[in-house]
């Protein structure tokens, strides 16, 4: 994965960048499988590697396929992202160990979710659709809003387009 990111950062050809980010998404999906988060892995593979690659290719079709030379040196953004990375890693050091049963997150509501009083074998679905139904309703509304925004931005009236062409 690190290698993919390194090549990604160095590539100037945008077509290569799109393909590489698709590869990155697939690698990310395998990481998710390794973490036993198969639901997330499926989403990552379908959205990250599949649909968004197609959308990026569509966008690429509309513009040049070579990245323009940056107008100024990237030192300030680089320093900023390095600082954020250091801060995040420092924060992650304070987290409990991976899969530690004594971690606070396993003491609070997780036992109740896992008791599974509603008899749905897939705990992810149970939490997503039942215990946190309001959250998921909000998420669905966000997705809907994204679609509505795309329609509002990109739809062109046929009459107007005819006028532009003349």
């Amino acid at each position: 994965m690190a290698f993919t990111v390194w090549v990604l950062a160095g590539t100037r050809n945008l077509f290569g960048v799109v393909v590489l980010s698709g590869i990155y998404s697939f690698l990310m999906a395998t990481v998710m499988v390794a973490l036993d988060a198969v639901d997330v892995a499926m989403t990552e593979a379908a959205v990250g590697a599949g649909v968004s690659t197609v959308l990026m290719l569509g966008a690429l079709h509309l513009c040049k396929s070579e990245e323009a030379k940056p107008a100024h040196r990237p030192w300030l953004p680089l320093a900023l992202s390095a600082a954020t990375a250091v801060l995040l890693i420092y924060g992650a050091l304070g987290l409990p160990d991976f899969a530690d049963p004594q971690a606070p997150i396993h003491q609070h509501v997780s036992p109740r979710y896992l008791q599974n009083e509603i008899d749905v074998p897939n705990v992810v679905t149970a939490v997503l659709a039942s215990f946190r139904g309001y959250d998921t309703l909000g998420e669905t509304t966000v997705v809907f809003t994204a679609g509505a925004g795309i329609i509002a931005l990109l739809r062109r009236r046929k009459i107007k387009r005819g006028g532009n062409e003349e």
Binding site: D39, T140, G147
Partner: protein, 144 residues
């Protein structure tokens, strides 16, 4: 890509299974991994694959724009409607226990419809975005 024989044959072979797998992920979401979000994206990916191979116009014949736009709203309405149904049957909003005499069965029923709503909206949005971008590309080619 329309005239590539290999792609056409493989696409015809694979697309039914992609769509079937999406439905499996949808309806088996209670028992195995998966659910509305995953099923919606996989279904949309199948249609996008079809559009890539056979052209946007043919995909629009399969799933017309009006249907896609209706799907956007229908999913959210279905989800919210489950909540209202819970209200009408004497529970709280989005309270699935009220949906059936047997509470556990009610939960299953609620989750089923909610997941269906999520899948419909996600699939609709994915397809809409793809249609929008792809048709812009065609316009650009026409003008250039």
């Amino acid at each position: 890509m329309k005239n590539d024989l290999v792609l056409r044959v493989i696409g015809k072979l694979l697309i039914p299974f992609i769509l079937l797998f999406a439905l499996y992920v949808q309806f088996h979401g209670d028992f195995g991994p998966g659910g509305g979000f995953q099923a919606g994206t996989i279904f949309a990916a199948g249609i996008v694959f079809y559009a890539l191979i056979f052209g946007l116009e043919n995909a629009r014949k399969v799933i017309p724009d009006r249907l896609v736009e209706a799907m956007l709203a229908a999913g959210v309405l279905l989800y919210a409607g489950v909540g209202v149904a819970g209200l009408l049957l004497g529970g709280n909003y989005l309270d699935y226990f009220a949906l059936d005499a047997d509470p556990i069965h009610g939960q299953h029923r609620g989750i089923f419809w909610v997941e269906a709503g999520v899948a419909v909206t996600v699939c609709g949005v994915m397809l809409k975005i793809f249609y929008m971008f792809a048709s812009r590309g065609e316009d650009g080619r026409g003008e250039a």
